[in-house]
Symmetry: D2
Subunit: 364 residues, 4 copies
């Protein structure tokens, strides 16, 4: 696997810089016969698009995805699916001043260290726009999982800065610009964001993604455990600094009697494990949390250096996100779906035929 | 990559159950000419061995590793290195009663769901003993990184249950059974553990692993980012429920002005990022934290079911860890070293020859 | 690796059907700083294009390739390079009659068996047009090898039906429509082809590809030996039924004293091995031969069945190649280049740093 | 995939030099529940062992294989299977004189070029003994294919030097030391070999391997086509210089009307394709041929150089094969089985569930 390919049987390979001619991806391994259209993909892409609210970036991204292969008469053929989004909003003049400067906490410095030079326009390959292709690819996986396996993948904002959401109602998550599941917190979130914009600062967020209806038995010991691959997929999203499965870091202070999920003939009594034990799914909801760092582009100036090592001050003008976490939700859903689909195919390939599987116990 | 192979140029493939004849691994891709001996590997294995203190398990594991290939006249040949540890301590009678029972929070249930049946003795493939091979493989990587690249990888216990360690002194980490860097906490840790053993319970832990001297530029956008691969490697360790890079989940509540690591001509002014930006190393210390759940084997009984779905009560007798976190430290070091070595080789393969790299700035 | 990705460090992933909207590929792992333009790629694509002579297909393929990412200010950035060719010549009416028929010796039957249904238009994914993307990707590899490593990759027609070419002059290979290196055979080839077209039949061909200037030491025992990967790459070209390295099948009847390439301080005395020993390059010319079967689309009717199993007769009208071998030459060059580039990067990644390599002996 | 791992779902990773402590392999991805014993593997290993006749090498290899993991109560568990063969016959004194010499047509020179130094004893990693592990791994695949899918894999000698075998009777292949299917040729083969031994020379061979009962639809366009992966697997065997599928190089001179395999409702009318079309299996017998070069170790002296570039004369004493082809047969069977098993698992993983497959037509 190169740095641009993810997965083993269901794979996603992507390309594209934020200010190059286009973004694209090749999605391979989707079984034949799945109904899929550009509209299916566009739905999830539009959820991700900036401009959904006055808090997210005002950069307009049209993000119209084209399916270039692998679909015939409305169904997948089983061959590779090529996807492409032409870049239409490339206001390079916003970025000319940063050609030789390193914006603090951006990948500018590290990209130059790695490659010797870089496409400086808008973050190039390190830009968050690259994630549009992941969302498009993830939409294919979500459709397969829903259609063929009856699985639902839902993400939501569980914390913004200091404000914690109680996941009261997943059904309202797509009805507000925050992907917030707790209607009582909306006014507080709006007020907090206003203050942030006025200050010129940003804040971090925590996003939670849940998969329901996953059968037990997915995951490949030892290194391709389901939790390890989820961690890989989610940590690969821009701005992610931490991943938890189930109780995550809360497990550190828990006693064994608190943490363990006891079993009865009716099902599990709790889900501290987050649906994964020994790296393999239990049949319960798979629950993962991501920590997203605050946006690196601020109006407030910061100290940095230029390409020649001179001290400079950097402030970013133009249009940016005060909180990237708001947009990470559909991307986290997409990555969860991509990993699950890969594991469904692998499991079917490797565990079938010689002995019949056991019936699973109930799931609470 | 199958479930048992990790890495791309420097790869580790392993096999072995806790009660089968042997554990083994094939380590491939180590460049030729590196001096390596069985003693080098045994050193790290002995750090991992239970019996180092009265708090860890009393199961005796001899863990004598043999090098079966890939080393000639004391140096690596560049071909595959076969490693093996014969299993000498296999007191199967400790496990006969669990043949058809599922211990809560163990992988028993999930393994049966995945495979239809399982080697029930002592956790089989899901046992923590499998990690002995990772430590052996990691010792090769650590030696290479130290010898050829001047890199040091150090792990330590940063939290046990509610007790937080200030990382006062990394130099004492290997002088106590806890891998604790804070000498003032040792009495408190001992007292806490005594109480736990008396109660028959267990508790979780947090382990931190640091890599020093890593050059900037490692990591492959988009999916093989260094942080994503570290997350994969660390989450694949038994009992891990969360992984953070740098400030991790603390980033959620941070403002942008707090989180960003500003740069001056003398170097970075802070390291909230944990040494990785945009998925690529910055040249600063790489800092990762792992959350380890409390041991699943308890004297205190828990509710579970047997293979036929009947309700049962399970308590584990015999010899077990009250806190697996104490032993995860050398395993986390090993995985960090394995990932870094793979990336050093990949970086050298892919970024050389056409243009010279930039000199890095200082590191604080 | 999925079915659509080739290589380990330098990878090519492709998509596209002959009658879908577009063909594309993602080329990843090219080091940064290599000068590359669309014109570089178009040069090799034009060599492949039908219509170069009155003997090859009269289907017009515009094959204008676009570079969509990974190149900035005329040089590779080190990130993934997206390539695309829009399909402009899609005369579907040529194919409507074969919707439910299986053309003998085409992949129609096997694709239906694999997927359950297929894009029947013009061979869909099995079409030879897919190879356009390989030629485009190979052009990047050829440029890197030539520019950075001083390697030349040349292919030519060594046999057409019963007519054998003596490789008199590689310098004229690109001056005729046959990629023929033997000017004395051109009239005979033309006459033979005329007769074939008149008959409505086709014939096979043998193509040879040579790489000059390859350094010794490339190839990874045991499974990624250079010859094994070349065999994989070349056999993956449509219509290839055999691959030889060096003397190939002539080795069967050779004595040991005949076959072995003796060495002197001035260099090797022969090259029966074709430049590869023990799976590793020797520094001599790497020589590979491909056997190409006769074109499967004939005006002469053949017996077949339709989708429902009924006996039918099939004859292909429209515009087709009487000898596909004529066009395989640039594709074979491309695949040779792709494999060599991948191995250069891997070799550099894995064999550097601890001990210096030996100086190679001369090459005759 | 490293150089030592083959396959995608069913993988084989190996290690071991001919004069190191042991050879070993890790076979991963075999579904659970398959009955397998050390005796199953030993059967195929014994077929491969030298000493079977007075024509093959007199080196005694005990080759007793141990199964170290992945099998419980006589059946595979689905986890990784570790295999090991201890090296018992290591008469290093046979090799002391070649420490600094390069034997012509051996991998000595290329290994030194690649790694800078090498384990000179008996060919080290390049030795044919490494293939013992492939045979052991292949035995697992053969058992699965036979037991679960009803597939038979048979190899035989089809040509030795100038002597061609008509494949009269596959049932006698294992009754003679040549794997010869043509009883009328046995006296001629014996006489030819006697003359060869007396002369101190060697000769090449052609081996054919056939798989019967393979279902249609295996193979992954574009790069993991079944024929391409077979070519890779077979070319990776020591001494192989060419691979053909079906009519192979005979296709070069064939007309389209001769080569195509017409179809009727009762089945295919011929099998020039060798069971693979468009890279996908047709359901017919899969037929592959390998060209093996003459043994490189001869009593007849040859010119070579030593490590310092001085001209020397080399003759090999000790015990060697006058024709390695005689032993390649079980290895070719093993590699064919390994590739087919990998593809069975991948096909099942990727082409199931959404639409039902078509029933295959008959096979002649």
């Amino acid at each position: 696997m190169s740095g641009n390919t993810f997965g083993k049987l269901f794979t996603v390979t992507s390309f594209g810089e934020s200010h190059g001619p286009a973004l694209g991806a090749i999605v391979d391994g989707c079984p034949p016969g799945l109904p899929i259209t550009e509209a299916d993909l566009q739905l999830d892409l539009d959820r991700r698009k900036p401009g959904q609210s006055r808090y997210t970036t005002q950069r307009r991204e049209d993000d119209q995805v084209r399916i270039l292969s692998g679909v015939f008469e409305g169904k997948t053929t089983g061959t590779a699916i090529g996807l492409m989004i032409e870049n239409t909003d490339q206001r390079s003049k916003d970025y000319a001043n940063i050609k030789d400067t390193y914006r603090p906490a951006h990948a500018d410095y590290t990209y130059d260290q790695k490659y010797g030079f870089r496409d400086y326009r808008g973050g190039g390959r390190s830009s968050a726009r690259e994630t549009a292709m992941r969302v498009a690819a993830g939409a294919i996986a979500k459709k397969y999982l829903a259609t063929v396996e009856g699985i639902e993948v839902v993400g939501y904002l569980s914390q913004l800065g200091p404000i914690e959401m109680a996941p009261v109602d997943l059904s309202i998550v797509n009805d507000n610009a925050f992907f917030c599941p707790d209607p009582t917190k909306l006014p507080e979130l709006e007020a907090y964001m206003q203050a942030l914009i006025k200050e010129g600062n940003s804040v971090g967020a925590k996003v939670t993604v849940v998969a329901r209806g996953v059968k037990p038995g997915l995951g490949e010991p030892i290194f391709d455990r389901l939790d390890a691959e989820l961690a890989h997929a989610l940590m690969s999203i821009n701005a992610v600094k931490g991943v938890e499965i189930g109780d995550g870091f809360a497990s550190v202070a828990q006693k064994g009697t608190e943490h363990r999920d006891e079993m009865t003939p009716e099902g599990f009594l709790s889900n501290h494990a987050g649906g994964i034990l020994g790296g393999i799914s239990t049949g319960q909801d798979i629950i993962a949390h991501l920590a997203l760092k605050p946006t690196s582009s601020l109006r407030l100036p910061g100290r940095s250096i230029d390409r020649n090592g001179n001290a400079i001050s950097v402030e970013t003008k133009g249009r940016h996100d005060p909180c990237v976490g708001i947009r990470a939700t559909p991307i986290a859903e997409a990555m969860m779906a991509i990993v699950l689909m890969d594991h469904y195919l692998r499991h079917r390939g490797q565990n079938h035929g010689v002995i019949p599987p056991l019936p699973p116990i109930g799931n609470r």
